[in-house]
């Protein structure tokens, strides 16, 4: 009975997938679209760069035009971190980290601490230049987390300050929403750019875009570091 039911569900799913992938009716032919009617044309229009102030057009779209969507993305990451913490996290005081199967030698420990600083500086550079060059909050935050993971793997005594990460994450997330609300106060809509755009290409330009990207970077970095910490302290609590 179960097998027949499974076969039925699989067939049903297959039919739906085929119907969904068959887009010939709902999508126009390639090259048929008049791009000037689309909103993307406005985004990519070179004349708009001076209004937004961001030299990186991807950042202009991700944080400028679609800031609310990015808030949703950050929330998705937050919820996944919350799920990991719910499953793997435990009583913080009683946790010990997982033992490494080898004992890291002096060279490995010291060297990774030096490299840790380099990775951190590079990630902050990427975050702060998110509106000028490729990169930004999400890759920079992931780099911060990778630096934390490096310390975890190279030093068997290392424990990160989980409470600090939680605090940083909460502050960054709240400030993101508060800046959005400030847009509502000083301008007309949520997350509107209420600061002057400045000169394109300078580090202090593009209004609230670099501020929000720094907040996103800190939030993503602390969240993923928290996930790493939860995974590496798993199994010891309770």
């Amino acid at each position: 009975m179960k097998n027949i039911l499974g076969l039925f569900v699989a067939l049903l799913l297959g039919v739906f997938i085929i119907l969904a992938l068959d887009t010939s009716a709902s999508f126009p032919e390639f090259g048929d679209i008049d791009l000037t009617e689309r909103v993307s044309d406005e985004y990519l229009d070179g004349n708009n760069i001076d209004d937004v102030g961001s030299a990186n057009i991807v950042t202009a779209i991700v944080v400028g035009y679609r800031g609310f969507d990015t808030l949703g993305e950050v929330t998705v990451l937050f919820i996944s971190a919350l799920g990991v913490a719910l499953v793997f996290g435990g009583v913080p005081n009683k946790q010990n980290r997982l033992d490494l199967k080898f004992k890291p030698n002096f060279m490995l420990k010291t060297g990774s601490k030096i490299i840790f600083g380099f990775i951190l500086v590079t990630s902050l550079y990427i975050i702060f230049h998110g509106h000028l060059s490729p990169g930004g909050g999400f890759p920079g935050g992931a780099m911060i987390a990778s630096a934390i993971l490096l310390l975890y793997l190279s030093d068997d005594k290392f424990r990160s300050n989980v409470k600090g990460f939680k605090l940083l994450e909460g502050i960054a997330g709240s400030l993101f929403v508060i800046i959005g609300l400030l847009g509502l106060v000083f301008a007309t809509y949520f997350l509107q750019n209420f600061l002057p755009a400045g000169t394109v290409g300078e580090i202090l330009s593009a209004g609230i875009i670099p501020i929000i990207y720094v907040l996103i970077g800190l939030k993503v970095g602390s969240e993923i570091s928290g996930i790493v910490d939860n995974f590496l302290t798993e199994g010891e609590s309770v």
Binding site: F102, K103, N105, M107, L108, G111, S112, F118
Partner: protein, 111 residues
């Protein structure tokens, strides 16, 4: 300026080529590690110095990358070599085995 940068780039490429050849042709694991990391460390240095000559604005970034590679590449290769030693998968023709002479346990490495 440009010619100097080309010379450095070609030297770097040669080092990479020799490193790749060494990984292919060396007889055992430790030899391959030192061919694959020593040569490529020098290759990265040389290539980046060539980049710095071609583009003097990037000199700060180049220095940062060189320091990063100078630290991470030898440490990484030494960690890999130690992991191979600990896995008992050592080639049988070791002439000097200082770790064994010191009587150190594999898991109790202090140096």
């Amino acid at each position: 300026m440009e010619i100097v940068s080309y010379i450095f780039l070609i030297i770097g490429g040669l080092f990479f080529l020799l490193g790749g050849l060494g990984v292919l042709r060396m007889p055992d694991t430790f030899n391959r590690i030192q061919a694959g990391t020593k040569a490529t460390t020098l290759g990265v240095f040389s290539t980046l110095i060539g980049v710095a000559f071609a583009n003097p604005d990037w000199i700060a970034k180049v220095i940062v990358i060189i320091v990063f590679v100078a630290i991470s590449n030898p440490i990484g290769s030494s960690a890999i070599a130690k992991a191979i030693y600990n896995s008992k998968n050592v080639p049988g023709n070791l002439v000097i085995d200082e770790l064994k002479e010191r009587g150190e346990d594999n898991d109790n490495d202090v140096v």
